[in-house]
């Protein structure tokens, strides 16, 4: 870990302004991802702005009947909230499927969205990685590499990493929007779909946030009802990242939404695929995973996603 300076701020707009002003500054929320990365010098911020004094830790109702989740609401609090459990059970299920109780107690809403990939080569500073060290190459794409966990779609020749969040997959299916404050004090609303960007030639750039821009909240539109399920597929029963996860909202008429985790650099969903839901799992996946470019080791994810959805659809 490199030496850094630290300050704790109490005003969101000022925190954003400060973060833009000091080059190499980073926000610290729960720290469950950032601190690990700093210990390995994968992240080496020179200045830490602790956001835990900003408030922003409440879940409130919005005018259009939805909910606004403050960025500092912990994953535990969010998944346990009675309104979330009742009206957005998909979100509760997805969060509870992630990490461990201790981590969820510390993890925050904004931090969870911005957590970085779990690609094993990203985590080993002795290996080339375009995301960690732009231009150094992608170890995961070389011959003989271990890529079982990595992405199959939305990836590029520079990077095939996935976004590891479970929470974000549910939020994507729920059409969430991210609210931010920019360094100039403006409020921005970004559809969750547009928060994460695909790697292309610059896998180190992961979001559409401006330098210094602070996430203040995530809003959920009014509840959409339906049967809501989250199936996180993994080798062991707990405490593992998803090989594939499937978020499903299904209405009594058979229509609905599907989002996937564990396959792409961002939660993966498309409206054309949603429209195929009445036609079954294969029809959905044919659209949703059209253009997939898996490695030999992770090609199984295509079959897996389809079979998992098929079983979810067959459940009732």
């Amino acid at each position: 870990m490199k030496a850094f300076s630290y300050e704790k701020m109490t005003d969101p707009a000022k925190a954003a302004a400060r973060a833009a002003e000091v080059e190499g500054a980073k926000f610290l929320a729960g720290g469950t991802n950032l601190l690990d990365l700093m210990k390995l010098e994968i992240e080496a911020p020179v200045h830490i702005i602790d956001v835990n004094g900003l408030g922003l830790d409440e879940i409130t109702e919005t005018e259009d009947g939805g909910l606004r989740i403050g960025t500092l609401v912990s994953n535990t609090a969010l998944s346990a909230d009675a309104r979330i459990r009742r009206e957005y059970p998909l979100l509760t299920r997805a969060i509870a499927a992630g990490a461990s109780g201790q981590l969820r107690n510390k993890a925050t809403t904004g931090g969870n969205l911005l957590q970085r990939t779990r690609c094993p080569y990203f985590y080993d500073p002795d290996q080339p990685c375009n995301k960690r060290k732009p231009g150094s190459g992608c170890a995961a794409l070389s011959k003989g590499a271990f890529s079982r966990q990595l992405g199959i779609i939305g990836t590029s020749d520079a990077c095939i990493a996935t976004h590891p969040s479970d929470m974000a997959v549910a939020m994507r299916a729920l059409d969430a929007t991210v609210e931010t404050v920019t360094p100039t004090g403006m409020t921005r609303r970004i559809a969750l779909e547009d928060l994460h960007v695909l790697p292309g030639d610059t896998p180190d750039k992961e979001t559409s946030l401006l330098p210094g821009e602070l996430i203040t909240a995530v809003t959920l539109p009014a509840p959409v009802g339906g049967a809501q399920k989250y199936h996180k597929v993994r080798d062991r029963a707990s405490y593992a990242f998803a090989l594939v996860s499937v978020a499903l909202i299904r209405q009594p008429d058979g229509s609905g939404r599907v989002a996937l985790g564990g396959v792409a650099p961002k939660p993966w969903r498309s409206l054309e695929a949603d429209a195929e839901l009445p036609n079954g799992a294969r029809a959905v996946m044919t659209k949703l995973l059209n253009g997939a470019r898996p490695t030999e080791e992770n090609a199984f994810k295509i079959t897996l996603a389809e079979r998992t959805l098929a079983a979810m659809l067959a459940e009732e």
């Binding site: 271990f146 993994r234 029963a237 079979r307």
Partner: protein, 726 residues
């Protein structure tokens, strides 16, 4: 004292303390966080500095140069020593990779530098500043499958009995399959860690976490070319080892070098991401197993050929270890090939050999039972043997494998199972049942102890270690039994080179050997007491020495009476084959969509001689079963065959079974004793608990899905393609 004939009737047959379910005596220290583990021994020596290691970024080649100026100038740094600064260290008996020194790189993350600083953070930050220039070796081959094909059939078999080819020609049924097990890492909770004080380059004191105190001392002496008597090693508490801490590793070596350079005590723990490639692991195996059987279900031929990887001079993982001995068959050919590869050092991990071998053999047995249309339990019973089948003149000392199978089948409800693969579904889950046999050798090693009696209290000193197994408790029980004391009267002192040399912990030899050593020392003490009281053959009970009219409380004996002895295990044992046996029964559920596999129920039966303490023994077996579930379903060191390194490097990437993976576990111990094994008639159980578990799981997955996987771990990607559509 020499154990040179069968134990015969002795005091352990009417035991009051040995064999009783005592909670472990070190339990309170552990659950209150007060057991002193190596890295946390802040009190043992003042002014401890922190060391941090640097590892090689290539798998093999040479280091051209190392730039250390920035590290040396970094805040708080007291010393930086690189592998180029010192001559190659010596290598002791069991290590094959050099732990430090010289420019040669033999494996990824081999230690190449140590930084010593005032704080851990300073040492770590400075370590990241060292720049190393390498000259990479020639591209190497890390493909064990291809290597196996190259060597198959070559060389001399380790066991060759009868006419194997003939047996296959005339067989009614044949199984001929290839099986693969991946490399595995010990993944113990406590990393390798040590504090070393070698400040003046003279006497060296080491506070560490190591299973084998005397080996550790000898190994340090060889590495640094110094007199072993100038080295003191303490390792009273060990946060798991599983064989990963049998050897001297880089933690102690780097701490010692750092201490000498900084002229102060240095503590150093191997960072978790470093452990995967820096320390030892269980080698992957490729195994071809051929079984031949007659129409009557009797095996006529067993042909097992396996390969594992190792650095030059190493032992690899001999997956054929059990095959000469486990099942009857007149014709047999067994061979293990070691393939040299510049991968990290392959070495022992819990039940080395059998753990991997049974993962394959017990699936092959399941396949043969199916080919013969026999029940897998019946098939194994039919092929039991009471003599070493590779040397029929040698009987097993005790072998109750058949009883294990029968008891387990009954407890599990084996006969009620569905026999048709993929024939049972509950909601989204396909349910399957599987079983496997278990075999693991039962070695003993000479083991010594010293006992001190004073005021009716007994101190027991031995360099035996407790790696979480319960040594403290069973040794206290043994001493209390022999001396007629209570366990509360006994103060156990372990893991210190100041104490007599014991067997140490490994190879499931610890319990049987070290209890025998304590028994020997206690008998010597009893003799001294009898001499002092001038009585013959006294009885020791209830804290008293009783002989005829003489009745003295041990507490009334003046001063301290000290006795020491070593139990030496005699050659008569060679007339027998000693082993432990078991059977595992498992129920799994496989998700019909995702193919996720979850274990729902497990029953294990163990035949391991006298169970010294059913609580600690059960812990060993359920721990083994848990590790077996990991081996079956998730544990795999992911080999990057291009780079020659293991890519998953932490406990998130290397998935051991977690609580949610482990269901109800039932353990049944057969009430057996083995008087050839030791005076306590005990054998090991800690490794037996792992043997065969993974195969039972794999067989259950087959029963659930109809998909046979011969390539561990059995993960969903290997079955979903072959499972029926949802």
């Amino acid at each position: 004292m020499e154990f040179n004939q069968p134990a015969g009737n002795n005091l352990f047959d009417n035991a009051r303390v040995v064999g009783k379910p005592l909670n472990r005596i070190d339990g309170p220290l552990k659950v209150t966080g007060t057991a002193p583990y190596a890295y946390e021994r802040h009190d043992v020596v003042a002014n401890q500095l922190y060391g941090y290691p640097v590892g090689s970024a290539i798998s093999h080649g040479r280091i051209v140069s190392m730039e250390t100026e920035a590290a040396k100038a970094s805040p708080g740094v007291r010393a930086v020593v690189t592998t180029l600064d010192i001559e190659p260290l010596g290598i002791w008996n069991y290590n094959v990779a050099r732990l430090f020194g010289g420019d040669k790189v033999e494996h990824y993350h081999q230690a190449i530098a140590v930084v010593v600083a005032d704080t851990f953070e300073q040492a770590r930050a400075a370590a990241a500043l060292i720049e190393t220039e390498y000259e990479e070796g020639e591209p190497a081959d890390f493909d064990l499958d291809a290597a196996f094909e190259r060597v198959e059939g070559s060389g001399e078999p380790g066991t060759l009995v009868g006419d194997v080819e003939g047996a296959f020609r005339s067989a009614a049924a044949v199984v001929d399959q290839k099986y693969r097990t991946p490399s595995q890492t010990h993944a113990m909770m406590e990393p390798h860690a040590a504090i070393v004080d070698w400040s003046d380059g003279g006497e060296m004191t080491v506070w560490t976490s190591n299973q084998m105190i005397e080996w550790n001392r000898q190994s340090l002496a060889t590495n640094f070319d110094i007199d072993p008597d100038t080295i003191r090693v303490e390792s009273p508490y060990i946060g798991g080892g599983f064989g990963g801490k049998l050897w001297l590793r880089a933690d102690e070596v780097l701490a010692a070098i750092g201490s000498r350079a900084a002229k102060a005590p240095v503590k150093l723990a191997l960072p978790r991401p470093f452990m995967m490639n820096n320390t030892t692991h269980r080698s992957a195996t490729v195994q071809r197993i051929r079984l031949a059987a007659g129409a009557d279900g009797k095996l006529t031929g067993i042909w097992h050929e396996a390969a594992s990887h190792s650095l030059p001079g190493g032992r690899g993982e001999n997956a054929t270890a059990q095959t000469p001995f486990f099942y009857a068959a007149p014709n047999r050919r067994v061979q293990h090939h070691i393939i040299e590869m510049s991968l990290p050092e392959a070495s022992d991990m819990r039940a080395p050999g059998e753990a991997s071998g049974l993962m394959a053999l017990e699936v092959a047995m399941d396949e043969m039972a199916e080919a013969l249309e026999m029940d897998p339990v019946e098939f194994r019973i039919l092929n039991d043997t009471q003599v070493n089948p590779s040397d029929p003149d040698q009987p097993f000392s005790e072998r109750h494998f058949v009883e294990c199978l029968k008891r387990g089948a009954e407890a599990f409800g084996w006969n009620d199972r569905n026999r048709t693969p993929a024939g049972k579904r509950e909601g989204q889950w396909l349910i399957g049942h599987g079983m496997a046999g278990a075999y693991r050798g039962a070695p003993t090693l000479n083991s010594g102890a010293r006992v001190r009696l004073s005021g009716g209290k007994l101190i027991v000193e031995t360099d035996m270690t407790d790696i979480g197994t319960g040594s403290y408790t069973i040794l206290a029980q043994t001493a209390a039994e022999v001396m007629g004391l209570t366990v509360e009267d006994v103060d156990m002192r372990l893991g210190n080179s100041a104490y007599p040399v014991s067997s140490g912990s490994g190879g499931q030899f610890g319990a049987a050997s070290s209890t025998a050593g304590v028994y020997a020392a206690c008998l010597a003490l009893r003799e001294k007491i009898a001499e002092r009281l001038k009585v013959e053959d006294p009885e020791f009970r209830d804290g008293r020495v009783i002989a005829g009219d003489s009745d003295t409380a041990l507490a009334d004996l003046d001063g301290e009476i000290v006795a020491e002895d070593t139990m030496k295990f005699g050659d008569f044992k060679k007339g027998y084959k000693l082993a432990t046996f078991g059977a595992h029964f498992v129920e799994v559920a496989v998700h019909r969509g995702s193919g996720e596999i979850r274990v729902r129920r497990m029953v294990a039966v163990a035949d391991s001689g006298r169970i010294l303490n059913p609580i600690t023994a059960r812990s060993q077996v359920i721990g083994g079963m848990t590790m077996g579930v990991g081996a079956a379903l998730s544990e795999e060191m992911a080999l990057d065959t291009g780079r020659g390194m293991f890519a998953n490097h932490d406990l998130a990437g290397y998935e051991v079974a977690v609580h949610a993976d482990i269901p109800e576990q039932e353990v049944i111990f057969l009430d057996t004793v083995d008087e050839i094994s030791s005076p306590l008639k005990a054998k090991g159980v800690g490794e037996l608990g792992l043997c065969g578990v993974a195969a039972a799981v794999a067989n259950a997955v087959y029963n659930a899905t109809g998909v046979r996987v011969r390539d561990y771990p059995v993960t969903l990607d290997k079955i979903i393609d072959r499972m029926p559509a949802v």
